[in-house]
């Protein structure tokens, strides 16, 4: 995972709640077997409707998305986070995130920032009233800055350190080999196992 420390970028507003992952990346684009190349299909159906906010030229190249509650609900498809990253987003700010989406973000290096509803509202208004406005999101100090705006955010310290250092979760877990093996040795013997085909 690419380390995440601090991002300054244009903030784009998507003022909707319960944005599901079917909207973020529709199912017809899940058939790639690579992690890359999903960016052009981000919000595919919405982008074909008139005047979709992210199509406006002032938000082109935006790196920060600010949106409504329960962002990323529905399907577990990690493709949603890959599409956001591929389209240039490094941070999503919302009042809350769906559990699986949040978990996916932390593992791919897309920073999910949960803020109080009122603070999200301020940022949506900033992005709407001053199109092209930039925000700085600093993970080390857990703070967000723009002219006239200084906010702090909470994030779990374990995942913060993983993001800051770009640690790979599998490498971390493989260090616990002894404990995993000890656990395996005490699993009940009636639990099912499949027989290898070969």
């Amino acid at each position: 995972m690419t380390p995440f420390s601090r991002v300054t970028g244009v903030v784009a507003p998507l003022d909707r709640s319960n944005v599901d992952t079917d909207q973020i990346i529709p199912k017809q684009f899940l058939k790639r077997i690579e992690r890359s190349g999903f960016g052009p299909y981000l919000f595919y159906d919405w982008r074909r409707t008139k005047d979709f906010v992210l199509d406006r030229p002032e938000y082109r190249g935006a790196g920060i998305l600010v949106t409504g509650a329960n962002f990323g609900c529905g399907s577990s498809r990690e493709h949603a986070t890959w599409a956001l990253l591929d389209a240039g987003f490094r941070v999503v700010i919302a009042p809350s995130f769906a559990d699986i989406f949040l978990s996916n973000c932390l593992r791919v290096g897309l920073l999910p920032v949960a803020l109080a509803e009122a603070d999200v509202r301020r940022l949506i208004e900033l992005a709407g009233s001053r199109p092209g406005a930039q925000l700085t999101v600093d993970l080390g100090t857990q703070s967000i800055h723009a002219p006239g705006i200084d906010l702090s955010f909470a994030i779990d310290p374990f995942w913060r350190d993983c993001l800051l250092n770009g640690w790979d979760e599998i490498t971390l877990t493989l260090k616990q080999e002894a404990e995993i093996a000890a656990f395996e040795a005490r699993r009940p013997d009636w639990l099912p196992a499949l027989t290898s085909p070969g």
Partner: protein, 457 residues
Amino acid sequence: MALTLAQKLWDRHLVRRVPAEPDLLYVDLHLVHEVTSPQAFESLRLNGRRVRRPDLTLATMDHNVPTAGGRERADAISQRQMQALEENCAREGIVLYGIGSPRQGIVHVIGPELGLTQPGMLIACGDSHTSTHGAFGALAFGIGTSEVEHVLATQCMRLFRPKDMAVTVDGSLPIGVTAKDLALSVIGRLGVAGGQGYIVEYRGSTVRSLSMEARMTVCNMTIEAGARAGMVAPDEVTASYLGGRPYAPSNWAQARSDWDELVTDPDASFDRELLIDAEELEPYVTWGTNPGQSVPVTSRVPAPRGEADERALAYMALEPGQAIQEIWVDRVFIGSCTNARLDDLRLAASVIRGRRVHPKVRAMVVPGSAAVKRAAEGEGLDVVFRGAGFEWRDAGCSMCLGMNPDILAPGERCASTSNRNFEGRQGSGGRTHLLSPPMAAAAAIAGHLVDVREMAS
């Protein structure tokens, strides 16, 4: 200390606990399918890693398989995904029930029907509807592709413990009201984010009286309320479902006595509780573009409460105040990991027997697995469906998510037993109304949404 079932299951799978870190939990069964696994296998290979426990991993093809005409009908990129899964499974020694296998089917249907899903287990799969397996008193988590890779490499997952929620349902379900209606009612009450951060345990006399198939429907839809997992404590119903299945415990007596411990202690407390009187439930239908937007079939399209509702109504081309039963449908889909088990098909067939699908409706039944299809044919359900004018398909996810040839055309309206009515879910521009199998069957015959209780009389 008094513990909830979820706490007991959690503790049983604890490999390592360190302050201020997520717990490391052991995964007893990892289910894999063609859509969310290729990148995980590829990354594993690039890092020179192997699958730690191929014997605790099972793969199938479900999301993009054609449900008629076999593999050849799949588009080139779907074929590439299926081929990638075959190669990955062959390289890693993973059992794969692919197209044509008598054990192929929707991943959440075949795990239970093979007896692989058992009480006390921790099950993970790269699909949000993994919550289905909680019906057996298992901890079952949907995960993304990075976590799929992590489970492949380590057989573990890293999670902070969610909170506990009890949904207690008492009383008898009225005639014509099914587990699907209970699920829609729970989501309607909690909202699509109400379950965020919780594991939900379904309890109470109504839940005890549900079949395993019905419990699976309820647990399956738990994710639609935003919860991390759903579960039901195991009992006699669970044991009699599992007895005799291919992977049922050979050490049956020992397993049974272990399962008896899998209950929430009487004094255990939950972080949140929801009480539901089953007798007040009705058949529900969704009117909007998320599964929380449902009303009783006897009522009307509600007035919008805000911009999101207005957008949903516009997308669905519905007017506030319109009677639900005056909504005409073009398509009917009976299928998906929510409602494509034998019980579901029996319920639908009981409504259809002796009737015909409305001439303007195209209706299809897609069994959840090859085994469900064989069993249904064994009792003549295919004859009932075909005779009424339904298409009778091969097993797969089909029109639940439209990643295969089964999709809605723009503007088409579908009565669907699946789990998501999101914009474009069943096909770009398609409009989905979620309901139970008997209600879907009734809609196919009437040509519009209709109260199945009226049809039965």
